[in-house]
């Protein structure tokens, strides 16, 4: 028996505008509304609306199961700019075939910097999901699948029964991602591991002409999945939802592929579709996973270097979280909300300087011309935040910084 378990990430950050030193203390319009609206319009047209429609048809026709994780900041933007996108997701959840996962409201790196803030954001997210979809998530996925042993332990303490993890080779060694595993130092929680080879065949390689398996067809892919029978319980296909239609354009044939995939998969009598919760209820863990260092699903390194790899990124994120106590103590709702929006991981991703190796993906999603411009805008905004908090314009003390770098 092989269960196919889909999880799609739905996220849109609040991208920042060109905020300069001349704006500090004068206004607090940090976000580029026009740009955010444009992107949302485009992704809605190319991905969310057509893909949701397709998924709804596949549920009706083949009774497929799938799961989504929505960032709170994406849901807010749907409500504000594109309510029909939210409605189409609600319709999907209403079928009962779709599970909604838990994450941090602001798609943040907070787990690595403040457990307190992390908990707050997971709670905010839980509330939002209940409000919009009428359900309460029981399986957790952290921003960019950032994961450590501690996180699994912490999340178990918060009452979750499952957690999503990258099925990286260095963690698994000879073992297969196609089973459930128990994180070390936990008792009940189960880990679902991404089958990155099969996931990336769709997410990254689908339209790659110099890939030996190009073109990827539904029968071929279904055959690969079916081959897991006898050597696994579940194939976890985890990817960004925007892959469908936005990263892999309609012209690549991605929708045609998806439309035919369930039929092909179900030709094999031992295959079925399950949501993450159903997988957890159906299968037992076969072993233990041990991840003492921080892991993620990003890039070839599977680490956090895309967000925290260079000194600018580390400096900016340190400054941000060093404000936590004072910001929260201010009880100023707008200030707290702006501080949280600045936690969205994308802001740090834009400051990434790893362009030499896997630059193309980074460049494509970067609204700035350079990581340095991203840093400058971000620091100007942090300065304004500080100004709102203390009434003083910041002059950085150099002694402090020199110790840092």
């Amino acid at each position: 028996m092989v269960s196919i378990c889909f999880y799609f990430q739905v996220h849109q950050p609040y991208r920042l505008g060109h905020y300069s030193i001349f704006d500090i203390g004068k206004h607090h319009n940090y976000y580029n509304e026009k740009h955010n609206l444009e992107i949302l319009e485009r992704v809605a047209r190319k991905c969310y609306l057509p893909t949701n429609n397709l998924m709804l048809n596949l549920i009706k026709k083949h009774d497929i199961k799938l799961s989504y994780s929505f960032s709170g900041v994406a849901l807010e933007q749907f409500q504000k700019y594109k309510p029909e996108v939210l409605e189409s997701f609600q319709k999907l959840v209403d079928t009962g075939n779709v599970e909604v996962l838990s994450e941090t409201y602001h798609h943040s790196l907070s787990y690595l910097y403040s457990k307190n803030e992390f908990k707050n954001q997971v709670k905010l997210h839980k509330k939002k999901i209940k409000e919009l979809f009428g359900v309460t998530p029981t399986v957790f996925r952290n921003t960019e699948l950032i994961y450590t042993n501690d996180l699994a332990n912490f999340i178990e303490g918060m009452g979750y029964k499952g957690i999503l993890v990258e099925g990286s080779d260095y963690m698994l060694g000879w073992r297969s991602p196609n089973f459930l595993y128990t994180p070390v130092n936990t008792s009940k929680i189960k880990a679902l591991l991404k089958n990155y080879k099969l996931s990336d065949d769709v997410a990254f390689r689908f339209s790659t002409h110099d890939w030996a398996e190009f073109p990827l067809t539904a029968p071929k892919f279904a055959q690969w999945v079916s081959a897991v029978n006898g050597n696994g319980n579940v194939v976890n296909l985890f990817m960004d939802y925007e892959t469908l239609g936005e990263h892999q354009w309609i012209e690549t044939g991605i929708f045609n592929f998806l439309e035919h995939l369930p039929g092909e998969l179900l030709k094999h009598p031992d295959n079925n579709f399950k949501t993450p919760s159903e997988v957890i209820n159906s299968y037992d863990c076969v072993g233990c996973i041990d991840v003492p260092h921080v892991m993620s699903w990003a890039d070839i390194e599977r680490d956090t270097s895309a967000w925290l790899g260079n000194r600018m990124q580390q400096f900016a994120v340190d400054r941000l979280y060093s404000m936590e106590k004072d910001i929260l103590a201010s009880k100023n709702k707008e200030l707290i909300e702006d501080w949280r929006k600045l936690q969205t991981s994308d802001h740090f991703y834009y400051m990434c300087t790893k362009w030499f190796a896997d630059g193309d993906v980074h460049k494509y999603f970067n609204p700035y011309n350079s990581p340095y411009d991203a840093f400058i805008v971000y620091m100007n905004i942090l300065n304004d935040l500080k100004y709102r908090l203390t009434g003083e314009k910041e002059e950085i003390k150099e002694e402090l910084i020199d110790k840092k770098i």
Partner: protein, 343 residues
């Protein structure tokens, strides 16, 4: 370049790179007699005449001439030998004049471009100018970016007295319209409204030198914006080493090698997007030369956050390693082969 043979024959001439009418007249004060031209244009024609003798005597496959000063010589050589002509363009009449080219220089450039079998521009920025302003067929215009010789920085940033209290922002280049010193000064004024402990150093000379000094005095900033006058080559590295950031706000810069020299000396750079060098480096800050607020924003942030300086420095040094003269030479040889294959 190892293994290639060179033979040099010299021509007695006062021509040198980036010569203008005015500087030519100044040089000529030191010489007398009929040997040289009565003005720069006359000198250019004389040089072209003298080149004929070499063109007839030597054995060669291709002719390569650099900038308008030598284009007529190249054309003469081509006419006499029937060999293909490649002209290299480092700087157009439009760059030199801020958009109002000297008609005599423009005419010689156009003549050279038209007579050439191939044109090598130092950047896409310059290539586009050749195509747009001179009406040249894009198929024969190629790009070979300039390079830099990598050396280790010999000076320690902290050894300079001025550094004890102040951050240093450097402008280095000819003080001419093309280099945008006026934008630099205006940005300096705005930076000083945000930060106090900064000195701006303007190094170099040029036809705007005196007017810039007066303007700074008029602004009351003579103690903050300092002029060095002419700087001998051996002191350039010291200047870069002293600076916290190097700014090249050029209005129109065909290539612009100074930012690479700054990076080589571990000095981060802010460059105008209207430059060829901005096509080959990314680990720097880029601005439109006219956007003084943007330039101010970047200067302030670079000075305020040493972590930004350090990231720029570290990545910049890695990046310039690939910008070698060998790469430039390979590109030229590629063009030679292409030209010769068409004969």
């Amino acid at each position: 370049m190892v293994g290639l043979n060179f033979k040099v024959r010299t021509i007695s001439s006062l021509l040198q790179a980036y010569l203008t009418s005015k500087t030519y007249d100044n040089i000529k004060l030191n010489y007398s007699g009929k040997f040289f031209g009565k003005d720069l244009y006359d000198e250019v024609h004389l040089y072209a005449e003298k080149a004929k003798a070499i063109a007839l005597m030597e054995q060669y496959d291709i002719i390569h001439a650099h900038d308008w000063l030598t284009y007529l010589a190249g054309i003469n050589a081509k006419e006499l030998s029937g060999k293909p002509l490649v002209v290299h363009i480092h700087n157009t009449a439009f760059d030199r004049s801020g958009g109002n080219p000297n008609p005599l220089e423009y005419e010689i450039e156009k003549k050279g471009f038209e007579a050439a079998d191939a044109i090598i521009a130092v950047s896409d920025f310059t290539r586009n100018k050749v195509i747009k302003h001179y009406g040249i067929n894009p198929n024969k215009v190629f790009v070979a970016h300039n390079g830099i010789i990598i050396t280790d920085s010999q000076f320690d940033h902290s050894q300079f007295k001025i550094k004890e209290q102040d951050k240093v922002v450097l402008f280095l280049g000819r003080i001419t319209l093309q280099k945008g010193p006026d934008y630099f000064i205006e940005a300096a004024r705005r930076v000083l409204e945000h930060m106090d402990n900064v000195k701006f150093v303007i190094a170099g000379k040029g036809d705007m030198y005196h007017s810039m000094i007066e303007r700074v005095a008029h602004m009351g900033l003579s103690d903050k914006i300092l002029f060095t006058g002419f700087v001998p080559d051996e002191d350039l590295d010291k200047l870069y080493a002293m600076a916290d950031v190097y700014v090249m706000p050029s209005v129109s810069e065909p290539f612009g090698i100074t930012p690479l020299e700054a990076i080589r000396n571990d000095c981060p750079v802010i460059i105008s997007k209207q430059s060829g060098v901005s096509e080959v480096i990314n680990h720097c800050l880029k601005v439109d030369f006219w956007d003084i607020n943007q330039l101010t924003d970047k200067i302030v942030n670079v000075l305020r956050y040493p972590v930004l300086q350090r990231t720029l420095r570290e990545h910049g040094r890695v990046e310039i390693n690939k910008i070698t003269w060998d790469r430039t030479a390979d590109k030229c040889i590629e063009v030679y082969h292409q030209v010769l294959s068409k004969i």
